[in-house]
């Protein structure tokens, strides 16, 4: 009873809450880091150094008037933010934050579930998230959101192909689709996959930036051309849901990158006896530290790089990333076969 229902439920509650709090503080981190990059201070008014700013933002967004345009498609307009939020959250079900640990004399796994098709589950759930953007643009019944949503969905679909093809080469390396299995196979092969699959790592990172609509690929919300992008007509909490979904997706992308390429919860040199002391830091802390590095990287990129033009974006996706992904897959397959022989 306790093992079957109570513990999974508790884990779900913890992960969901941690994600939502993490997402709100990601917003603050982003504002702070970008401010520092531009020699500003960033939010300073609410709380010391502005650390209570996310709470103030959340309260403001919740008590704002929630407007639905008169000519909008009401049902779809309401469903769109939910459709983009839900996939971003249910992906956390298969992300492994750590291995099995004993907690209060009970064996507890630091992931909600480990399914046989974990990585495929993440990719497929993420592919449903694109509906939120398309429908938001369509249901608003307004020209800029429609244009932005068409752009966004074309971008997402193009980069999804490249990322999924790249993930296949990681699956070939690991021989499993389970997220826990991928980390364990990195432990068993004595190497983090970033050192044997650097091209795959770069492709997934770039594709991940594009799939979360982050700079330099944030064309769907290019203010100069499309006013606010696909969520122009949204206000209040419904706007906040789109915002939260974007940041939740950023955390997902960095967690997936860490799990696939940077050894997940493993400390550096997990098999070398001289580095045993690194196990003093708990496994989930290693996972969080590594994920944080990539979250910081996303913000850093936004502060540094200018935005791509739309045709450049499409050219990069179809003419550079996808051929590279296919070439990488073929080479990985050949090497794998040669090793097996």
């Amino acid at each position: 009873m306790v093992d079957q229902f109570l513990i999974p439920l508790l884990k779900i509650v913890i992960v969901l809450n941690a994600t939502l709090v993490g997402v709100t503080y990601m917003v603050l981190l982003e504002r702070k880091v970008i401010a520092w990059a531009q020699s500003r201070l960033g939010p300073m008014r609410v709380g010391p150094y502005g650390i209570l700013q996310p709470i103030a933002d959340a309260v403001k967004l919740m008590i704002k008037e929630d407007i639905t345009p008169v000519r909008a498609d009401k049902w779809v307009f309401t469903a769109a933010p939910i459709i983009s939020m839900v996939p971003a959250l249910i992906v956390y079900a298969v992300i492994p934050f750590g291995p099995e640990v004993s907690l209060f004399g009970r064996k507890v796994t630091l992931f909600i579930t480990d399914i046989n098709v974990g990585l495929l589950y993440i990719v497929s759930v993420a592919s449903v998230g694109v509906y939120g953007i398309i429908l938001a643009g369509y249901a608003s019944n307004s020209k800029y959101p429609l244009l932005a949503s068409l752009r966004a969905s074309a971008q997402l679909i193009s980069y999804e192909v490249a990322v999924t093809l790249t993930l296949v080469s990681v699956i070939l390396m690991a021989g499993t689709l389970s997220m826990v299995g991928i980390v364990n196979s990195q432990y068993n092969s004595h190497v983090w996959y970033v050192f044997v699959q650097p091209i795959a790592f770069a492709l997934v990172l770039i594709g991940g930036l594009a799939e979360t609509n982050r700079a330099p690929f944030d064309l769907p919300e290019a203010e100069q051309e499309l006013t606010g992008g696909f969520h122009t007509e949204y206000s209040g909490m419904r706007f906040a849901l789109f915002f939260l979904a974007e940041y939740a997706n950023m955390i997902v992308v960095s967690s997936v990158v860490v799990t696939l390429f940077w050894g997940g919860w493993l400390p550096p040199f997990p098999n070398v006896p001289a580095f045993r002391f690194l196990y003093l830091v708990p496994s989930w802390a290693w996972f969080l530290i590594k994920s944080f590095v990539f979250l910081y990287f996303f913000i850093w990129v936004r502060a540094t790089l200018p935005r791509y033009r739309y045709d450049q974006l499409m050219r990069l996706g179809w003419k550079v990333l996808i051929p590279l992904a296919i070439a990488n897959l073929i080479v990985t397959g050949i090497v794998k076969v040669m090793v097996l022989m």
């Binding site: 779809v76 497929s124 759930v125 429908l135 068409l150």
Partner: protein, 169 residues
């Protein structure tokens, strides 16, 4: 017991959404009900223990193909249905003929399944365990030729699309 309840609930939703797909007037809503339908079909696959198939169902159908449907529906103006121009009986007759054909097929399938129960397909000599591995194994052993034919077909379709879209190469 629990499995039966889940099965009937999911099946009921699949049927309801399927009816909604063909009965709703707004084309975009119709496509959305199709997505819901595909998601529930994926749930049915999970219930059958075919997680790989469920994930592929969501990835390819719900997340890929229907997005393209949605593109077409949103970009093509479907405001005025062309019913006014055609003979109103033509559609009824066509529908009648189609439903007779579908019923005949269903009867054939049912009869065939009744006479000859489905064999446990090559499951005995499987050398791997795990859902995904089993699907892969079957695809590359028992069903190699259909699999290759399907991939050839897709390649032809892809080249055809490129030739159609680009007049001069």
């Amino acid at each position: 017991m629990g499995e039966a309840i889940a099965f009937y609930t999911i099946s009921a939703f699949i049927l309801i959404f399927a009816v909604m797909v063909i009965s709703t007037r707004d084309t975009v809503h119709s496509v959305l009900f199709l997505v819901l339908d595909f998601l529930f079909v994926a749930a049915l696959y999970v219930l059958l223990g075919a997680q790989f198939l469920a994930a592929i169902q969501v990835l390819v159908y719900a997340g890929g193909i229907v997005v393209l449907y949605l593109f077409v529906v949103m970009l093509v103006n479907l405001k005025r249905p062309p019913e006014a121009h055609v003979d109103s009986n033509r559609r009824t007759r066509l529908g009648f003929a189609l439903s007779v054909a579908v019923l005949f097929e269903l009867a054939l399938i049912a009869g065939y399944g009744y006479v000859k129960p489905a064999p446990a397909l090559a499951a005995q000599n499987l050398q791997v365990t795990g859902n995904t591995e089993e699907v892969g194994w079957l695809l590359y052993t028992s069903y190699l030729i259909p699999f290759e034919v399907a991939s050839m077909l897709l390649l032809v379709a892809m080249i055809g699309a490129i030739v159609l879209a680009k007049r001069e190469l």
